[in-house]
């Protein structure tokens, strides 16, 4: 069961109005149907998927991928270089994607260097899917399951693909019910009407009386304050004071019920290891001193703070932040209407590759993407400088890094949700699980 209720089996074209749940749910559904060329695990190691080998020239503008032999789409057509090139070319009009001279490879060329191409290709938005022209653009992939039925916003029924290149899934079918709140999902699990559900990260930390197993991913979401372009709070000193005033620990322990990590960096420590240099400690005394230097008459102005009403915790967190900053002399009005000066946003960090996630986070937050480092350079110094440059102007104030969580019933065997939250890390997808026979007790 999943929270979102998508009208189409496609990633949202714009991230502006998409909630992280929309991203995760579509990732989880489409990853069962399609494959990417390559995969990245949590440690950033590349794994072959539909491509079994790859290489680039020194400039990283020319790439070649050797495709897996014998892979087929669910409609029976071959996952040939021409077919794959056509799909990738449509996803990335700026790239020149074509079948190579040899019969098993594709070439990808670009005018600009693409050092992070492999991490980009591993993102779920680059799943290689054909679209049915006659059947509501239903995706046709090479993955372990094929789409058997699609009721927009309600139900996706998947059937095991007998010819999946990775082998036939153990289960015959998967039914995904969309548009179910976390509470509805929990009840369905309790009543044995669902086998796998999403859950709040804090719930995953608790114990369960029904033998279900719950687990949390690594922190793969960022909760942050973002200043809009026409915000009244333009003075960086005012923004710095606001950042210093926020006491993250009580919010984490009470409102987030211990889930996640207080953060002052965009990227979590498991990706970079250097987040200690971004202090997330509250310092109201210094906030008042900084505010005294501000040119902006903070005391006379009220700043509007908005939040995503679909995020169940957002309103309480926003109100707590308003309380914190009021103590140092900044007035913030939490509201869904009126002028928006500050927005409380939750964004997805979609890749274990830190440079890719930094670029994606900057895009979702509406920040300028200047001089972002490349994974090929793989320099922590470059990465740190790029992240520092995004944060230094206080256009964004990171607050928390949050995991996503899920729960499986006791009859689900052989499955562990991956550490990146997508339910599809190598060897641990829904294709690898099996369900115990209720007649056979624990088996």
């Amino acid at each position: 069961m999943l929270q979102s209720a998508p009208d189409a089996l496609e990633f949202p074209a714009s991230t502006a109005n998409a909630a992280p749940a929309d991203y995760w749910d579509m990732t989880r559904a489409l990853s069962l149907v399609g494959d990417t060329l390559v995969k990245l695990d949590a440690q950033g190691h590349l794994q072959p998927a539909l491509a079994v080998a790859w290489q680039s020239d020194a400039s990283a503008r020319h790439w070649q991928f050797t495709l897996r032999r014998g892979a087929k789409f669910h409609d029976g057509s071959a996952a040939s270089p021409a077919a794959i090139a056509q799909i990738l070319g449509a996803l990335h009009p700026g790239w020149n994607v074509r079948a190579s001279a040899d019969p098993v490879s594709i070439d990808i060329d670009s005018e600009t260097a693409m050092p992070s191409l492999l991490a980009e290709l591993a993102l779920p938005r680059n799943l290689l899917l054909k679209r049915s022209m006659k059947d509501n653009r239903i995706p046709i992939g090479t993955g372990p399951f094929l789409v058997a039925e699609w009721q927009p916003g309600k139900l996706l029924r998947l059937a095991a693909s007998e010819e999946s290149w990775a082998g036939r899934p153990f289960v015959d079918a998967v039914e995904i019910e969309f548009g179910k709140s976390l509470r509805d999902q929990a009840i369905a699990l309790e009543l044995n009407k669902a086998d796998i559900i999403e859950t709040a990260p804090e719930a995953a930390n608790g114990s369960h009386g029904h033998n279900a197993s719950s687990s949390s991913s690594l922190p793969v979401e960022l909760l942050a304050l973002v200043f809009s372009a026409n915000s009244k709070a333009q003075d960086p000193r005012l923004r710095e004071a606001l950042a210093l005033a926020i006491d993250r620990k009580p919010i984490q322990s009470v409102l987030l019920k211990g889930a996640g990590e207080p953060a002052a960096s965009i990227l979590p420590n498991w990706m970079t290891g250097y987040s200690a240099v971004f202090s997330s400690e509250a310092n109201p005394q210094r906030a008042r001193a900084v505010l005294a230097d501000s040119r902006q008459p903070a005391l006379k102005v009220s700043y509007g703070l908005s939040y995503d009403p679909r995020d169940p915790q957002a309103q309480l967190i926003a109100e707590r932040i308003a309380l914190n900053v009021r103590e140092v002399g900044i007035t913030v009005q939490v509201s869904l209407s009126g002028a928006e000066d500050i927005r409380l946003m939750r964004v997805v960090l979609p890749s274990p590759d830190p440079a890719t996630s930094l670029a994606e986070a900057a895009r979702q937050l509406g920040l300028p993407q200047t001089a972002l480092p490349t994974p090929r350079g793989n320099s922590l110094d470059d990465l740190y400088q790029a992240e520092r440059s995004l944060i230094d102007g206080y256009s964004v104030i990171p607050l928390f890094h949050l995991p996503v969580a899920s729960e499986a019933s006791a009859r689900v065997h052989g499955w562990t949700p991956d550490r990146l939250g997508a339910w599809s890390e190598g060897g641990f997808s829904l294709a690898d699980l099996w369900l115990a026979d209720p007649e056979a007790g624990s088996r």
């Binding site: 190691h45 040899d102 492999l118 036939r168 250097y274 240099v277 922590l380 641990f428």
Partner: protein, 435 residues
């Protein structure tokens, strides 16, 4: 890929491609030096050694000195990583010494021109050490250095009486279910079982590190769809070359040349021991044995469903060990079925028994699932009822997807799916006596 390299158009292979190039040069069998390298890297534990910590500390000291300039600073070192206290002390000592060489001295804060706060942290990939440098009223400066983490986080372990030796026999892109090495007229042959064929490779030349050339490929005809997590077993026979067991399918080779393979739908039980003394029924649509034995072990004809089993000879009986599907290890002596839960906390689902001249003469090889990326094998003995580790773990760069004892009983075949390339590697694992 050969064609690509000849064009010289692409000249910057990434690590994955380097791995592939190695395999292509040897066309399926890697060269002797690679095996030697692997043995060295496998048997030497790879924790962080003092020199790598010291080198990294010197790098950090150099960056701190460049930012701070000469003089006295108050140094604070905080450990937020998995480094132990001894390592942290070594890092601090190395850092102070290297700073001294650079003209930066540590002092109490009231006597210092500034502060340096070093945090020893880590990401999933590497140790990351940061230094925040504040000199007088200058803006804070940050220095960062990193050091790759040990892939396993393993530390040195005490000397153990038995050494596991793994020898890479063969690798290829396609999955392998089991292998068998056969000495035949005209040279060694390697039988490789997969879901559609039994391929027979012949070693070129007498050199043990010579390449394997495909001699023939015998197709496996089967009516039933195989399960996703397919397992299969090759057993060498006296009256004909081999039998191949697959879920719901039994294949038997001919006795004489030209070699043929006859496959039939079959639910016959699979032999658990080379002498066929105990057989077990395999669940045709699953990846485990049902638990029904034929013939049984003494009075026991049913055990819980299990993935693998091994027989440990005792003076008056045979103790059978079963890696059960529901988790614990089961010890069956023909009368009782004893469950050991704690022992399997790190154990994987694969067991194989190997006979040697070391220790009690029979060791149990057990797969260890440390994480999703690297599996290992360790030898155990069960002197009474509790397994005792008698070797260090031999680790592989990927997951062990199959482990079967050799028909001779003196070794085991381990099939590993490499993490980095996705290729499959077949190893022979044998035992040497340690000190």
């Amino acid at each position: 890929m050969h064609k690509l390299r000849s064009t010289a158009r692409y000249n910057q292979p990434i690590p994955h491609m380097r791995a592939r190039e190695l395999t292509q040069k040897s066309s399926g069998l890697r060269l002797c030096w690679l095996t030697s390298f692997l043995l060295v890297t496998v048997f030497l534990p790879a924790p962080l050694c003092a020199s790598s910590l010291g080198d990294t500390a010197r790098q950090l000291a150099h960056k701190i000195a460049a930012a701070a300039g000469p003089g006295a600073v108050a140094l604070e070192v905080t450990n937020r990583s998995s480094l132990d206290e001894k390592s942290v002390r070594e890092v601090r000592s190395a850092l102070e010494a290297a700073l001294h060489v650079e003209g930066v001295y540590t002092a109490k804060s009231e006597q210092a021109m500034g502060t340096v706060e070093v945090v020893l942290s880590e990401s999933l990939r590497e140790y990351v050490w940061t230094a925040e440098i504040v000199i007088g009223s200058d803006e804070k400066k940050v220095a960062i250095v990193s050091l790759p983490r040990s892939p396993t986080g393993a530390s040195f372990s005490p000397a153990l009486p038995i050494v596991l030796k793994s020898t890479l026999l063969f690798d290829r892109e396609q999955p392998m279910l089991d292998i068998a090495l056969v000495e035949m007229p005209g040279g060694s042959r390697l039988l490789v079982l997969d879901d559609s064929t039994v391929a027979i490779y012949r070693r070129q030349g007498a050199n043990p590190s010579g390449r394997w050339d495909l001699e023939t490929s015998l197709p496996i005809a089967h009516a039933r769809t195989f399960p996703r997590d397919l397992r299969g077993r090759l057993l060498l026979r006296r009256d004909h070359l081999f039998d191949a067991y697959l879920p719901g399918t039994l294949c038997r080779s001919s006795a004489a040349a030209p070699l043929t393979l006859t496959c039939t739908d079959s639910d016959d039980p699979w032999p658990l021991a080379p002498d066929d003394s105990v057989r077990a029924f395999y669940a045709a649509s699953r990846n485990f044995f049902t638990g029904a034995l034929s013939p049984g072990i003494g009075k026991v004809s049913n055990v819980p469903s299990f993935y693998s089993a091994a027989a440990l000879p005792r003076t008056n009986y045979t103790l059978w060990t079963f890696a059960a599907v529901d988790g614990p290890l089961h010890l069956v002596d023909g009368i009782t079925d004893q469950t050991i839960r704690g022992a399997k906390s790190k154990w994987g689902s694969d067991l194989a028994v190997v006979h040697s001249n070391c220790g009690t003469g029979t060791q149990l090889l057990v797969s260890e699932s440390g994480d999703k990326e690297r599996d290992g094998l360790r030898a155990f003995e069960i002197p009474d009822r509790d397994p005792v580790a008698v070797s260090a773990a031999v680790e592989f760069n990927g997951r062990i997807v199959a482990l079967w004892p050799e028909s001779s009983g003196t070794g085991a075949a381990a099939i590993v799916k490499r993490k980095d390339t996705g290729w499959y590697e077949a190893y022979r694992v044998s035992i040497s006596c340690g000190n």
